[in-house]
């Protein structure tokens, strides 16, 4: 019953107002190519807390409820760009295709889903992006703005390894303290504690073969 719910402003309008309200904030509307077309607003870590406070306190938005915090792992990816040029070769004009490749370094993202209980609208999807997937995996904690983000930011820290600066109590929450990996990262290698599976197939079969090849088993 969307007509009963007051619609939220468009992301573009929110961005324009934010740029006026928070000086120097780098904001980007990230389009979503999927059917739902739910765009999101990316904010740089330095201004994230100021932007979050504006989103929470602004009279027209009043995004007072942070329902969900999650992480996304983007690996290094190779982007191919094809350029078509026309050249004259042997007296004939021909179309040539030139493909260049460049690698986009990977990064991690923290994604916040914000709603307004007071105005009954949402969600607004807020993103923060880290510089890289190693030492620069840092964003600003929004727990000072939405208290409900505390445990979920700890979970993103635990499973993705994103460090939330300004978090009051940043510790692992699901895995044990001695654990060193971040299991939700796409390049995570799980411990080889595989065991007999009656009908292995696909990835499980590949895993079984790897295990029994390593253990010197009889069938691999």
């Amino acid at each position: 019953m969307s007509d009963l719910r007051p619609a939220m402003e468009t992301l573009e309008r929110i961005r324009t107002r934010l740029e006026a309200a928070v000086a120097g904030a780098e904001l980007e509307v990230v389009a979503n190519g999927a059917v739902a077309a739910q765009g999101s607003l990316r904010v740089d870590a330095a201004h994230a807390v100021a932007v979050a406070r504006f989103l929470r306190d602004d009279a027209q938005l009043q995004l007072d409820y942070c329902s969900n915090v999650t992480g996304v792992d983007w690996l290094d990816r190779v982007v191919r760009t094809t350029v078509r040029t026309r050249r004259v070769i042997d007296g004939l004009e021909r179309e040539l295709e030139q493909t260049t490749e460049h690698t986009v370094p990977g990064y991690l993202e923290a994604v916040y889903h914000l709603y307004s209980v007071a105005l009954r609208h949402g969600p607004l999807v807020l993103r923060q992006r880290t510089a890289d997937r190693a030492d620069g995996a840092r964003v600003a904690s929004l727990t000072p703005v939405w208290r409900s983000a505390e445990f979920q930011e700890r979970e993103v820290y635990d499973l993705f390894g994103v460090v939330f600066e300004g978090h009051p109590d940043l510790r692992r929450i699901l895995m044990w303290d001695e654990f060193r990996d971040h299991p939700m990262r796409k390049d995570y290698v799980e411990p080889d504690d595989y065991e007999y599976e009656p009908t292995p197939h696909d990835e499980v079969l590949a895993k079984a073969r790897r295990h029994y090849a390593g253990a010197g088993g009889d069938r691999a």
Binding site: D177, E178, E195, E197, P198, A220
Partner: protein
């Protein structure tokens, strides 16, 4: 004593028994479980203790909140790797004689979480399990069946000789090593004397 004579005497009101029978009768009809649950299987375990299924018919209704007073550990639910050391420690704190029922797909093998990174693929990697119950979750009847299977196992145990139960063997272990939290997995990943990975892979090869 011959079985026929024994039955005839019983009809006349004279009950005869042996020390082993009496000892095993006492052990198997007072299996007090440890009061803890790990996941949804625990709900079925609770249902088994309520009036409809009534586990007290088998002498196992006294759920003890302390491992010092418990005889039976029902591992009811998913054992995560973070929880496994605590489960082993609770088992070590129980006095002999003590028994373990692994209840449900997770406790016996990891179940639907078998391919995950954070779930122990069966508590039999660290503890000597007496009865395994499949099911996700097993119904209370299955738990009662497992209890009866355990009672049958106790009934048939000889008190002397090499096949005598573990608590009557002075050299047999009563405690098992508690796994440590490692940087990537539990250390060790299993107790090598209790459990070894099977050497066969099914399916196409």
């Amino acid at each position: 004593m011959e079985e026929g004579l024994r039955r005839e005497l019983a009809q006349q009101g004279i009950v005869t028994t042996t020390l082993a029978d009496l000892y095993n009768w006492g052990r198997r009809n007072s299996l007090w479980p440890l009061n803890f649950g790990l996941a949804c299987c625990a709900i079925e375990m609770i249902a088994a203790s309520m009036a409809r299924f009534d586990i007290s018919r088998f002498g196992a209704e006294v759920f003890r909140p302390s491992p010092r007073q418990a005889d039976l550990m029902i591992v009811a639910g998913t054992v995560t790797k973070k929880m496994a050391p605590q489960v082993v420690r609770l088992y070590n704190q129980m006095p002999e004689p003590k028994y373990v029922i692994a209840m449900g797909a997770c406790a016996i093998s990891g179940g639907p979480f078998k391919q995950g990174y954070n779930v122990l693929k069966g508590i039999d990697r660290y503890l000597p399990v007496d009865v395994h119950i499949p099911g996700c979750p097993p119904r209370p009847e299955a738990l009662l069946h497992a209890l009866m299977a355990l009672q049958e196992k106790i009934r048939g145990q000889a008190l002397t000789g090499p096949a005598r139960p573990r608590h009557l063997q002075s050299e047999a272990p009563s405690e098992f090593p508690v796994p440590q939290f490692g940087a990537h997995d539990l250390e060790p990943p299993h107790h090598p004397e209790l459990w070894q990975p099977p050497a066969v892979v099914g399916g196409e090869s």
